[in-house]
């Protein structure tokens, strides 16, 4: 198929449709409303269902119902809406249901503004709602990558019977880049024989998250924990740049800020400073071992984010006290500029 020029939001919507995400429920919020608007046009063409629902609270619970009935279902929203979905997501994780949630994050806290932010990192990777659970979290840094991660998100949601969050930000959602839609082939998935599809010829199925017996509840928690461990073994994804040459500084950044870092790295090289970049693609599970290994070859690590310091907590956990870990962040919807990153690196090198 010829390349087309698409906004991140539209591309995510189209990619989801092609991955069989034919059931979408959502509630409008900037800067991701184009997803719903695109689907409102597109779903009827492919026999899918787009439905605007009264609130994100309800949306998450529609996901629960539809996923429980065996459907490939998804939604998208932006930060305040994602907060409202946390109730449903916790139930979905507990009942081990598959679904995909796209967060095109905007700045906050509170109503904040409509500009991009990475301030939802901790909410996304540490569970977010109540109880002891995690979502698999994928973070694209280009429109093409967003397109490529959607089919993976659906597959992994089904494979692990777990919610998958695709964490972008307003920049990923709003910017336009050329994209291509490729075929993705995944190994066959197990049948959804647990779904509530009518009990004809079998025992009734129950989708549930209520465990009044502490022994049973603990069993569930341990089962979920084992699943997260399996993700850590099998799902960690990241991109490395310039790690095959000697470098003084290791940059760690994801999504939009990784793009800024790439430009900064070129400038730094021109000034005779060698840096390498590790860009996590999975934020949970976090590429902690690789961050540690690569940090050992650098004088220090610099984490760049559009927050006051969220992913840096995971970087520090990975690196420990073996190397200094510095942080540079901008917020309020301001994207750090390549200059600022260059200056920060130079300042720390001067020390």
């Amino acid at each position: 198929m010829a390349k087309v020029l698409m906004k991140g939001n539209e591309a995510i919507a189209e990619s989801a449709v092609r991955a069989g995400g034919l059931l979408y429920f959502g509630y409008p919020i900037t800067p991701q409303s184009e997803i719903g608007e695109y689907l409102a046009r597109r779903m009827p063409e492919v026999g899918g269902c787009f439905l605007q629902i009264e609130s994100e609270v309800a949306v998450a619970n529609l996901l629960y119902g539809a996923a429980g009935a065996g459907a490939r279902v998804w939604t998208s929203s932006s930060s305040p809406g994602i907060s409202l979905m946390m109730e449903g997501l916790s139930y979905i994780a507990a009942a081990e249901l598959p679904c995909v949630v796209v967060n095109i994050a905007r700045c906050g806290p509170g109503l904040g503004g409509i500009l991009p932010s990475q301030g939802d990192y901790l909410q996304a990777v540490k569970g977010g709602g109540h109880g002891d659970y995690h979502c698999l979290v994928l973070a694209p840094s280009s429109v093409q990558e967003a397109v490529d991660l959607m089919p993976l998100a659906f597959d992994r949601a089904d494979r692990y019977r777990n919610p998958v969050i695709v964490l972008g930000d307003g920049m990923i959602g709003q910017m336009m880049e050329p994209v291509e839609f490729k075929e993705h082939n995944f190994p066959p998935l197990p049948p959804k024989d647990w779904a509530t599809t009518g009990c004809k010829g079998r025992k009734p199925n129950v989708i549930n998250s209520l465990y009044l017996d502490p022994v049973e509840e603990e069993k569930l928690n341990f089962k979920l924990a084992a699943k997260y461990e399996e993700m850590k073994r099998k799902e960690i994804r990241f991109e490395e740049m310039e790690t095959d040459k000697p470098y003084q500084v290791l940059l760690v950044a994801y999504g939009t800020t990784a793009r800024v870092c790439k430009t900064a790295m070129q400038r730094l090289r021109a000034d005779g400073i060698n840096t390498a970049l590790l860009r996590p693609i999975t934020l949970f599970p976090f590429p902690e071992d690789r961050v540690y290994e690569l940090a050992q070859r650098a004088e220090f690590v610099l984490t760049v984010e559009m927050s006051t310091g969220q992913m840096v907590e995971d970087v520090r956990l990975a690196v420990g006290r073996t190397r200094p870990v510095y942080f540079y962040g901008r917020t309020g919807g301001i994207v750090p500029s390549p200059e600022e990153v260059v200056e920060t690196v130079k300042n720390h090198l001067r020390r």
Partner: protein, 261 residues
């Protein structure tokens, strides 16, 4: 059919924006220039460059950002360059500019009536975005205006004559303004190749034939234009300089290729 090369004699370069073969086009230009089009078709980039090129020709010109559907990458993002180059701005107050509120400035009516200054209207995409025009139609100056439909054949819902016809009908219906010209702006940003531009022109021609709306001009980004050996077009060409950049592109570009600041 006139043959023009990239270094043709009819080329005018001011402030980084180049026009080729455009004298006739400018002679017939209306006072008010409206840019409409499909969502993401490049209206803002074209409108901003268009305004700058009018200012560079010594004309008094203002631009109004009437995009009520896009939250980012609107012409207001280029306000510094526009202001420094003498383009008047009709924009929402700075404190609430970066919002998704539908903000229509009251000055717009006055600007539409002001016969001493040219006006460029950057309108949001699709029939939804074009709706804002419906409330302004009453002040449009007779036939002293152009309404340009910006067309990128590599955007969704814009790739065929049928789709573009549908778009035109939708925009004309929701805005109450008739589209007077097509602007061919087919591109894939840095991945644009000659074939993409040619395909856009072919589509434009076919649409033009169906709708009797002439092609006003063809827009080509400067970096792409430089790579094309020759450009052989019977239309005016706007060689535009991208100003609505992504944050990590911004500074790469603030080199010599930039507007005078």
């Amino acid at each position: 059919m006139s043959r023009i090369s990239a270094t043709g004699s009819s080329e005018v370069t001011v402030n980084g924006v180049r026009w080729i073969n455009a004298e006739e086009f400018f002679a017939g230009l209306g006072r008010v220039n409206i840019f409409v089009g499909g969502y993401g078709s490049g209206k803002s980039e074209v409108a901003v460059n268009f305004s700058l090129s009018l200012a560079a020709r010594g004309q008094k010109v203002s631009i109004a950002d009437l995009d009520i559907v896009n939250p980012y990458f609107r012409s207001r993002a280029a306000r510094a360059v526009l202001e420094k180059n003498g383009v008047g701005l009709i924009l929402p107050p700075v404190e609430i500019m970066e919002s998704d509120l539908p903000l229509i400035q009251p000055e717009i009516a006055g600007a539409l009536k002001n016969a001493t200054s040219r006006l460029v209207l950057d309108i949001g995409g699709d029939p939804v975005g074009a709706k804002v025009l419906a409330s302004l139609v009453q002040w449009l100056p007779g036939d002293d205006y152009n309404c340009f439909l910006v067309l990128n054949s590599r955007r969704p819902f814009s790739g065929s004559v049928l789709e573009v016809e549908k778009l035109i009908a939708g925009i004309e219906q929701s805005s109450g303004v008739g589209i007077t010209h097509l602007v061919i702006n087919s591109h894939l940003i840095e991945e644009t190749e000659r074939a993409v531009i040619e395909e856009g022109i072919e589509l434009g021609k076919a649409v033009s034939k169906k709708t009797a709306k002439p092609i006003g001009f063809v827009a080509i980004e400067d970096r792409i234009f430089e790579k094309l050996a020759t450009v052989d077009l019977p239309y005016p060409v706007l060689v535009l300089h991208r100003l609505l950049l992504k944050p990590w592109e911004e500074n790469e570009k603030l080199g010599p290729r930039c507007f005078k600041l």
